[in-house]
Amino acid sequence: MNILTYLIPISLLLGGVGLVAFVYTLRSNQYDDPEGDSRRILSDEWDDHPKP
């Protein structure tokens, strides 16, 4: 059962990483224009670096 001492923290950490990532996307206005963002990938502008 000693494996639990690794596995439980790891599972919590992974979940936490997902949560932090979600909070980051929410804070940086990434859900403001879902429709537009899904179309923008079709345009070849700003393919090399993000739009300033």
Partner: protein, 696 residues
């Protein structure tokens, strides 16, 4: 900030953004495809009109949006807040569920206790953070001496966490941390759906308001300056150009013209305006430029005083309680009594405080309105989504339920059943010469009747006659010279004709008897379909209008509306509707003008077209975004089926409680059963709501 309704793909985004960026003064431009808006950051000297011209040059329709009116929804703080709490609750419930599954599948003794403690460590902070919306609402309700859905929710969550903590400390078998967290997660999902539906409706409604940027031209000495309407003061001289709306109440100082007062009174015939005459804010100037001296500005204008009527009428409607509230009223006390009884019963029966408290917590968790919390938002989200696709915007949360009960529909005429733009009647029967002359004369004016003449002529392929020296006499008509004789098109008194009862212009050629050109209102698309579909659905259809009797009668006969009332004053409309409501009818009012606002608020539920005045849209529950009226009948059908789904969902939730509650009271409910039962009922309810979307 511009509204660009035409963008729809990646190419459009690139084209608009690149076009805007090409302008030397623009430092940033970004198109939001979801909202169909373009936000532009530019140097202060750039005029909005230039930007609009630029976008229109690219082939897209563009309108200015009032940034101040939009600011409220620019960042949807409340929605974000809910989403954040939802995410945290989801994360925590998944982790705790993982640990709980281990316990259910046989972890024992020290391992079980450790898992319970870890669960507690995750659950406690999460509940404190994610449960706040419920705790706050429950506290408000309790302080006000009421019970709402949030009171049993809060109690269940707190009791579940409390007893679980106690059990864990005593290394007991059952802990409900997972149940408490999934509960919070599902309920937050319901709240978020509910919030999003309303936020979408609100932002679209605000966009309609923001489209009307209130500007006016103020005369200072000889110079005209453009100012915001809010900056106008009493006694200011204001210039109103043809096609403009009066920004203030005032007296005409200079100029003659005609006024379209249809939004205020419902009359379609333009009235003459000359020096010394009083005008009210909201009237449209048709032919000549006018200079006004402001006699009332801002909140003192007659336009604003009309809105007071609305406030009074609205107070009466606040009495409606939604299905969810009615269910909560029955439900909340029932649940509390049940769990209190279970607690007392077990306490007396066994004398064991711990068992009794555990059972009471289980009862509260099992009965917790998880399914009820999702039952209404899931259905309303699906229904408003469908209505939005058909061009209808639900502004009020309970509008769907009220719409489903409607048995009487009252229409306004001008601007609602009709578009408010006239068409020339019997153009084919006019002599070709006369029509050609009328067309030539009408070409020199932007008066709506003139536009109708030109349009009719073009439709029949008539070439305008060779009329020279065309001159518009504001307020009277246009005159010119044709084959050496004077020709005039305009008012009856000016052309020497006997005025007819209906809307008409008169054409005088030389010394001949004037010819009357009569006009009818253009029927809005879908008006006939909407009326006949509503009648087929067994609803009573009525027509109330402020217009003159012959015009209203003609319209009623054309659409097959048996009952109508003409020359109705705003108060009369509202009181007729109030009287019908008193007789037990549920009235749907469809109207657009200021004269309808009181009636719109007095009705059980109300609809207004997007072209309606701001005040009318504010007073109505549903806004028609397109020009088509036919969705109204569909909306009633969708509302009825949505209400049916909500009731079904309540039945499902009740049925589930009937099965689960005895188990809980008998002390047979384990955390595993609670988790299964709760998730199943929530999923069933959501699926039932989606059924609405599948049907067409």
């Amino acid at each position: 900030m511009l509204s660009v309704p035409g963008v729809h793909c990646a190419a459009c985004i690139t084209k608009v953004e690149r076009g805007l960026m090409a302008h030397p003064c623009v430092s940033a431009a970004r198109v939001n495809l979801t909202l169909r808006r373009a936000s532009i950051t530019a140097a202060p000297e750039v005029d909005v009109a230039d930007m609009i011209a630029l976008v229109e040059g690219l082939g897209y329709e563009a309108h200015e949006l009032d940034a101040a009116a939009l600011r409220a929804t620019a960042t949807d703080k409340a929605g974000r807040d809910l989403l954040m709490r939802l995410a945290v609750a989801g994360f925590a419930s998944m982790n705790v569920m993982l640990l709980s599954v281990a316990v259910w599948s046989g972890a024992a003794d020290a391992t079980r206790d450790m898992f319970h403690w870890i669960s507690a460590a995750i659950a406690l902070p999460t509940i404190v953070f994610s449960g706040q919306p419920f705790f706050r609402n429950a506290w408000h309700a309790l302080r006000g001496g009421r019970l709402n859905m949030d009171v049993p929710i809060t109690l269940a969550i707190l009791l579940a966490v409390g007893t679980s903590l106690w059990e864990t400390a005593l290394s007991g078998h059952h802990a409900y941390f997972d149940a408490a967290l999934t509960l919070v997660f599902f309920l937050l999902a319901g709240r978020y759906l509910d919030h999003r539906t309303r936020a979408i409706a609100r932002s679209a409604a605000e966009e309609l308001t923001a489209l009307e940027v209130p500007r006016a031209w103020r005369l200072d000495g000889d110079t005209e300056t453009q100012v915001a309407v809010a900056e106008l003061r009493l006694g200011d001289l204001v210039r109103v150009r043809p096609g403009g709306r009066m920004p203030v109440d005032g007296v005409i100082e200079d100029g003659t013209s005609e006024l379209d007062r249809s939004l205020l009174t419902g009359e379609t015939t333009p009235v003459f305006a000359g020096e010394g005459q009083h005008v009210s804010a909201g009237e449209m100037n048709l032919t000549g430029p006018l200079t006004l001296r402001a006699t009332a500005v801002g909140a003192d204008t007659s336009l604003h005083r009309m809105t007071d009527l609305v406030a009074m009428a609205e107070a009466g409607r606040a009495n409606y309680t939604s299905l969810a509230d009615r269910a909560a009223k029955l439900y909340a006390p029932g649940v509390h009594i049940l769990s209190a009884l279970a607690f007392l019963g077990w306490l007396i029966g066994t004398g064991d405080m711990r068992t009794a408290l555990n059972i009471a917590a289980a009862v509260l968790i099992i009965t917790c309105p998880c399914a009820l919390g999702l039952a209404v938002p899931a259905v309303t989200t699906a229904a408003s989504g469908r209505l939005f696709k058909r061009g209808m915007l639900i502004k009020d949360a309970t509008a769907l339920e009220r719409l489903a009960e409607v048995d009487t529909v009252v229409f306004d005429k001008t601007g609602t059943l009709t578009t408010g733009t006239p068409t020339l009647e019997a153009a084919e029967e006019l002599e070709p010469d006369a029509l050609a002359i009328a067309m030539a004369l009408a070409g020199g004016s932007s008066h709506p009747l003139s536009c109708a003449v030109v349009e009719a002529g073009q439709r029949l392929g008539v070439t305008p006659a060779d009329v020279t020296a065309i001159r518009e006499v504001p307020g009277y008509g246009t005159e010119g010279v044709w084959q050496g004789g004077c020709v005039r098109l305009g008012r009856a008194s000016w052309t020497g004709a006997d005025p007819l009862a209906q809307t008409a212009a008169y054409l005088k050629i030389g010394e001949e008897m004037p010819v009357a050109l009569t006009f009818a209102d253009t029927l809005r698309t879908g008006a006939a379909e909407a009326v006949s579909a509503l009648k087929d659905a067994g609803k009573q259809v009525l027509l109330f209008s402020g217009d003159s009797a012959p015009a209203v009668q003609a319209m009623a006969e054309r659409l097959g509306i048996p009952e109508w009332q003409a020359e109705a004053l705003p108060e009369q409309k509202a009181s007729r509707i109030a009287a019908m409501s008193g007789e037990g009818h549920k009235v749907l009012m469809v109207g657009d003008g200021l004269n309808d606002t009181a009636a719109l608020s007095a009705a059980h539920v109300s609809i207004s077209p997007a072209s309606a005045l701001d005040a009318a849209r504010a007073a109505s529950d549903i806004v028609l975004l397109g020009a088509d009226l036919s969705p109204i009948a569909d909306a009633c059908a969708i509302a009825q089926s949505a209400t049916r789904r909500i009731r079904e969902n309540f039945q499902i939730a009740t049925f589930y409680n009937i099965i689960a509650v005895p188990l809980a009271v008998a002390g047979l409910a384990t955390p595993l059963i609670a988790a299964l039962a709760m998730s199943t009922s929530s999923v069933v309810v959501s699926l039932n709501a989606l059924r609405l979307k599948g049907r067409t």
